[in-house]
């Protein structure tokens, strides 16, 4: 199968997955999401006002009709307006995605580089004191709650030492990237790097015990060449798989960071939307993030072939 057919087939397969995501979001919101009319009605509401608001929002219609409208909105990219602020949902997405990416891209890149680099090093010195200290540190780092990291680091590095701002965001991309983003990025990396490092170490160790490594060494190749040319290249596929699979979790972690550092990204928007039962915003963020995840997975699958020509598209 050539690459075009493969991509088309995968895109086609995304449709039922997307349908499943939409159905799940819809059901979850309607079962546990709360009725927004009670918030929008204010302090003194009566059944007539509630009914009028529900009618205006369309939540008085049957679930089938509501789901059909939702489906149309997703595929036409017209998700209406926020129930709580009346802002166009498309505008919400466009304006909030930038701050989220300003955090996400450095986190993923730096964390992957650090985790892979350290994993290669500790795998190389497997069983030594260094290996044990690094592994123990990873275990300790993994057992501390992300919230504790945020609270302590914000207080220590933001307030006490004054190395970073405690919170904030501006219109300037560079100021955000170089001034406001570093502390949240460091925090996200600290939390993500420990489990990744342990996992990548095991990938590399698996490869190091393969016959082809022994053969390469027997051929007299240098250790650096064996590690970087052979071992790392073969370990790249599971590493990339892990990076792609970990993206949703990284994003959820960033939601918390955005909230604590007052960064106007998708995560903070999502938290506020959930607390306001603002379904149009919740469904837009959830569904499009799901689509993004599926597209990234597809790209990763395509990359497998590029990394390892033995991989064939089926």
């Amino acid at each position: 199968m050539n690459i075009t057919s493969f991509i088309l087939r995968r895109l086609w397969q995304m449709l039922p997955t997307l349908f499943g995501v939409m159905l799940l979001v819809f059901l979850l919101f309607n079962w546990v999401g709360g009725d927004p009319a009670y918030i929008l009605a204010g302090k003194v509401s009566d059944p007539a006002l509630i009914a009028s608001i529900r009618k205006q929002l369309g939540v008085d219609q049957s679930y089938f009709v509501q789901f059909w409208i939702f489906t149309k909105q997703v595929f036409t990219f017209d998700l209406g307006r926020s129930w709580s602020t009346n802002e166009l949902v498309s505008h919400v997405l466009m304006t909030r995605v930038g701050p989220t990416l300003t955090l996400l891209v450095p986190v993923v890149l730096i964390e992957t580089i650090i985790a892979v680099g350290c994993a290669v090093l500790v795998a190389y010195v497997r069983g030594t004191l260094t290996d044990r200290i690094v592994m123990m540190s990873c275990t300790v780092a993994m057992s501390i709650s992300f919230l504790v990291y945020i609270i302590v680091f914000q207080w220590l590095f933001g307030f006490k030492l004054g190395w970073f701002p405690v919170q904030g965001w501006t219109d300037s991309f560079w100021k955000n990237l170089l001034y406001y983003a570093p502390l949240p990025v460091i925090l996200a990396i600290l939390v993500d790097v420990a489990p990744s490092l342990r996992l990548y170490r095991s990938f590399i160790l698996d490869e190091m015990s393969q016959d082809y490594v022994r053969t390469a060494r027997a051929k007299g190749l240098s250790e650096n060449r064996v590690m970087l040319k052979h071992v790392l290249r073969n370990a790249t596929i599971p590493i990339i798989t892990n990076v792609a699979a970990g993206l949703p979790a990284t994003l959820v972690g960033l939601f918390l960071l955005e909230f604590f550092f007052s960064i106007p990204g998708l995560g903070r928007e999502m938290v506020v939307a959930v607390s306001n039962s603002d379904f149009p915003v919740v469904k837009a963020i959830t569904v499009y993030l799901a689509v993004l995840t599926m597209v990234i997975n597809l790209l990763v699958d395509v990359m497998y072939r590029w990394l390892d020509p033995r991989v064939s598209f089926r």
């Binding site: 709360g34 302090k43 003194v44 007052s262 903070r268 506020v272």
Partner: protein, 601 residues
């Protein structure tokens, strides 16, 4: 020759003057709010923080004196406070000529003067069925002919803004005469709320798709920049007529009042050029950013940080050392637990059920509630009326019925047959059926603690209490539908009159404001009589009688009035906090040199 010289000198002076103006640094106030705003359309908003911004952009028809305590109603954009005519049925508003809206493209390059028609338009708009305004109740069933218009509009599917309404008359360009269906001496308070602030019809129609993002008012500031849920920037409205602090009601024994009078007295307001407001939901970054001098004012500190800032009534040394001033106030709000009076177990007006409710109330340790949950930043409630509102009676004491007294609670339960029949440690109802109280509250740490205290307190007197913690919307739904036994509740004053609180127990308000579903004819009669009276000893007597009935029938467990701390940097002047009106930016000033020096340091 001499004339020429004088002309040249004048020119030089003018240039120097212009340069000095240009060189003056901008006075920028930076502050934060604890929840994201929703928008700035006065008739559409209901959340506290959007309302606070609207106080700055829009002029309310009436206002509150900045320093008078308790809050005192004053005219704002009208010549004088309307006098109740025809026994409280008619009110005439005379708008001051020469008040202008902030410039906006909707006005097509012309100055737009505020007229009485704008007041009338805003009243109609608040009742527009298509808007579903959260504050439509302010004018519901009040103005002659307005409800008929609303009903007709519902049928037509569109609000009619042009058909005359009998109760809304415009005898001239600057006069609005309102006729009510029945006497109401508290009617004027509705005009001191941003929700009734006049808006220009052409602005609303021009930005019909997103009126929340296009506030155009006659207030001291206008919206310059809005990054939703992230940054709100207000700048001085050049069309604002200006104001001067009224010092008549200042309490010169109060250091805050003294500072306000000294720093801004006699000056033309506003003094600030720009106000930057940042919504920050988490308390730690907000507090640390304030200590880092990133903010000039920090409104409403939560209890955890309040306990760090003030210990045993004394400002913590690290805060005092920085010159930070701490403003403490008890807001006109009540936190209480309400029984569902229609519930077969805890409701009812007979002696047995009243005894059960009283026992439950006395079995709850509310002193512990104030100490542990609110960390002593709270006053125990003595009546449904909080301090700082008209009708509050400081001598009214509810301790005999509401304070913790487990022995008396147990005795009451025993006396009315609520005893443990099966020996499981929990009491049953007099008919032998199980006695299980369900406590409805919302998911949050504070309410979890409240529920824990309830469960423990009830267990101590042998009552089984089940905690039902739900989402806020579900709680509102169940309360409105009467599907609860005991529920937590809060009410913050919309206006400083006891009636705003006592309406919560008025029978005809059942299903809306009266979620307790309390229906006592004697109470309702007193409430209706009080509505017909202006503020007077006679009305206060009626309020007191109503409070006595509440105490006797025990539909509520009185909780606390929370005390809040607000932090102010040393370079901020003119800070005070009116309990009702939040238009404080009009009165505040910044010592820019001190502010800049502190930031650099």
């Amino acid at each position: 020759m001499t004339r020429n010289l004088i002309c040249k000198c004048c020119c030089v002076l003018l240039i120097l003057f212009a340069l000095s103006i240009q060189a003056a640094p901008l006075k920028v106030l930076r502050t934060s709010i604890i929840a994201a705003e929703s928008g700035f359309d006065p008739q559409r908003i209901s959340d506290l923080y959007s309302t606070d911004i609207c106080w700055q952009i829009f002029d309310t028809v009436l206002g509150y004196d900045y320093l008078a305590r308790p809050a005192k109603l004053i005219p704002n954009i009208v010549r004088e406070l309307p006098v109740a005519e025809d026994g409280g049925r008619v009110y005439t508003f005379r708008v001051i000529p020469g008040i202008y809206f902030a410039d906006d493209p909707a006005f097509k390059g012309k100055k737009r003067e505020l007229v009485a028609k704008d007041l009338e338009y805003s009243i109609r708009r608040l009742r527009d069925p298509a808007l579903n305004s959260p504050y439509s109740w302010l004018f519901e069933n009040k103005i002659v002919g307005l409800d008929d218009l609303v009903e007709a509009s519902k049928r037509k599917g569109k609000m009619d803004y042009d058909t005359p309404v009998k109760g809304l008359q415009l005898p001239d360009r600057y006069t609005l005469r309102i006729t009510l269906k029945s006497p109401d001496y508290n009617f004027l308070y509705a005009f001191a709320m941003p929700q009734s602030a006049p808006v220009a019809r052409e602005v609303i129609e021009a930005y019909a798709d997103d009126t929340m993002a296009h506030p155009v008012g006659t207030g001291p500031f206008k919206l310059a920049e809005w990054v939703r849920k992230s940054k709100i920037v207000l700048v001085r409205n050049p069309n604002f007529r200006g104001a001067v602090l009224d010092t008549r009601y200042a309490d010169m024994n109060n250091p805050w009042d003294r500072e306000v009078v000294k720093s801004i007295g006699g000056k033309k307001l506003p003094l600030l050029d720009r106000v930057e407001i940042y919504p920050i939901e988490e308390e730690q970054p907000r507090y640390l950013a304030f200590l880092n001098k990133e903010f000039d004012v920090m409104d409403t500190l939560n209890q955890i940080y309040a306990a760090q800032v003030m210990q045993h009534g004394v400002v913590a040394p690290n805060i005092a050392k920085q010159g930070i001033r701490v403003f403490q106030e008890v807001e006109p709000e009540i936190i209480f637990d309400e029984f569902n009076m229609e519930d077969p177990v805890v409701g009812g007006y007979d002696a047995q059920h009243v005894a059960l409710r009283r026992a439950i109330i006395m079995g709850h340790n509310r002193s512990q509630e104030a100490q542990v949950i609110f960390r002593n930043f709270a006053l125990l409630e003595q009546s449904p009326i909080p301090p700082g509102v008209v009708g509050y009676d400081p001598t009214f004491n509810a301790s005999s019925q509401q304070d913790y007294n487990p022995e008396r609670a147990k005795a009451l339960l025993d006396m009315f047959g609520y005893i443990d029949r099966d020996g499981d440690g929990y009491r049953e109802q007099p008919d032998g059926s199980p006695l299980v109280i369900t406590y409805l509250n919302r998911t949050s740490l504070q309410y979890t603690k409240q529920a824990e205290l309830w469960t423990k307190s009830m267990k101590d007197i042998g009552i089984k209490l089940v905690n039902r913690q739900v989402q806020f919307t579900d709680m509102l739904r169940d309360e409105q539908a009467g599907k609860f036994m005991l529920a937590v509740s809060t009410w913050i004053a919309d206006y400083p009159d006891a009636q705003n609180f006592l309406q919560l127990l008025y029978g005809p308000n059942t299903g809306s404001a009266n979620r307790t579903r309390f229906k006592l004819p004697a109470y309702d009669r007193l409430y209706e009589e009080a509505l017909k009276l202006p503020d007077s000893p006679e009305r206060n007597r009626l309020y007191r009688e109503m409070c006595r009935l509440v105490l006797a029938y025990a539909p509520w467990r009185f909780g606390v009035h929370r005390a809040y701390l607000h932090l102010v940097q040393p370079w901020v002047h003119g800070f005070d906090r009116n309990p009702i009106s939040h238009d404080q930016y009009l009165y505040m000033d910044i010592d820019v040199a001190a502010q800049q020096a502190a930031i650099k340091h």
